[in-house]
């Protein structure tokens, strides 16, 4: 792997991890809100 490819590899891995992290955080928040809504209903 050339230095350029390695840089690209790390950049993509990082952006995927960030996207996955944000998605998971979103679902944590969503499930919390669903729980509150269901308990309230």
């Amino acid at each position: 792997m050339t230095p350029d490819e390695e840089r690209e590899y790390k950049a993509r891995r990082r952006s995927r991890n960030i996207a996955l992290g944000l998605t998971l955080a979103g679902f944590v928040l969503l499930f919390y809100l669903i729980t509150i809504a269901r308990l309230g209903g």
Binding site: E5, Y9, R12, A19, L20, I34, R38
Partner: protein
């Protein structure tokens, strides 16, 4: 003039399953070795879900939810629409996983992540399954299981009945398979009411009958692509003239059908008048498509493109009117 059917790929056998491995994909590569070692970009996963198609799915699902009699907690309503969107995204990913080789042979789809080799095919399949199963489970746990069951049916309908079974076998693929796109308002409605009534079934029927003229208008101006990969779209198999007749027939049926929610008292006058005007204009746009013939290879197919563009606008405004009717007039009876 080219009213006659276009020749299919010589390897295509009508009524027989299409072997995607046999399709001549031309010079476009199905894999790109230079990029396969790199992890896929998150944007490639996003594009697997067909975000543009999803916008119409989200909109009609939201309209079904807002137009339904009764109310739903906003968080649960948001969750229901999110599940519809994710389910549609999962079905779209499975569609692209199955059709990767076909997509590679069509100009319109050749730049998708799988034909370009930016994504691993197995990853696309797993991503589609994860989204599909996840959306159904969350819908069932957060809303209720009837809505979840219909969401599951809609995903299977698109990914299996349409993509795997009908699309490569019959020129009526769009008619039957188009039903997959008709599920979102039904699911949105049921998320609120918890049961199936005539009104959501009518909304289903409207999109069901809207899909063929919408898609065949597109197929008329991209038909050479479908012929190239052996997909038996109606213009490819039955010819332009038959397709134009079918477009007109469905447009005629759409007029009274779109008015039925008003006739049965399910909506008020805002929806009724909107449906009359919009469906009348739909018919007006379909007439020049029905009674013209392609003038040659340099024909820019303007009426067909105009009908395709209008059909998208039609659905947005019609369902918008349905919601406006419910919110402003309180809608009709709880049908």
């Amino acid at each position: 003039m080219s009213a006659a059917p276009l020749p299919l790929s010589p390897r295509f056998r009508y009524g027989a399953p299409l072997d995607v491995a046999e399709i001549d994909t031309g010079p476009m590569p199905t894999t790109a070795p230079a990029t396969t070692r790199l992890p896929a970009d998150w944007r490639d996963f996003l594009s697997l879900t067909k975000p543009r198609v999803m916008s119409l799915v989200v909109f009609t699902g939201l309209c079904g939810l807002l137009a339904a009699p009764g109310s739903i907690n906003p968080i649960l309503g948001f969750t229901a629409v999110l599940c519809i969107a994710i389910g549609a995204g999962g079905a779209a990913a499975l569609n692209q996983w199955w059709e990767a080789d076909i997509d590679a042979g069509m100009k319109r789809t050749s730049r998708r992540p799988l034909p370009q080799g930016r994504l691993n095919r197995t990853d696309a399949r797993d991503f589609g399954i994860m989204l599909s199963v996840g959306s159904v489970l969350v819908m069932g746990l957060a809303i209720h299981w009837l809505a979840a069951a219909i969401l599951a049916v809609s995903i299977l309908y698109y990914a299996v009945v349409y993509t795997i079974w009908l699309k490569p076998r019959t020129p009526q693929n769009i008619v039957i398979g188009g039903g997959a796109g008709a599920f979102p308002p039904l699911i949105g409605w049921i998320a609120v009411t918890g049961h199936i009534t005539p009104m959501p079934l009518l909304l289903f029927a409207i999109i069901f009958f809207w899909t063929p003229p919408h898609f065949w208008a597109l197929a008329l101006f991209v038909q050479t692509d479908y012929a190239k990969v052996g997909i038996p779209m109606l213009p490819v198999v039955a010819g332009e003239a038959a397709t134009r007749r079918q477009i007109l027939l469905y447009s005629i049926v759409l007029l009274p059908l779109s008015l039925t929610p008003w006739w049965i008292g399910g909506t008020g006058l805002i929806y009724g008048l909107s449906a009359l005007v919009l469906s009348g204009l739909f018919l007006v746009q379909a007439l020049p498509v029905a009674f013209r013939r392609k003038s040659g290879d340099d024909d820019r197919m303007k009426p067909e493109k105009r009908l395709f563009g209008y059909s998208i606008l039609y659905l947005f405004i019609l369902f918008g009117a349905l919601v406006a009717d419910r919110l402003i007039l309180g809608g009709g009876l709880s049908l």
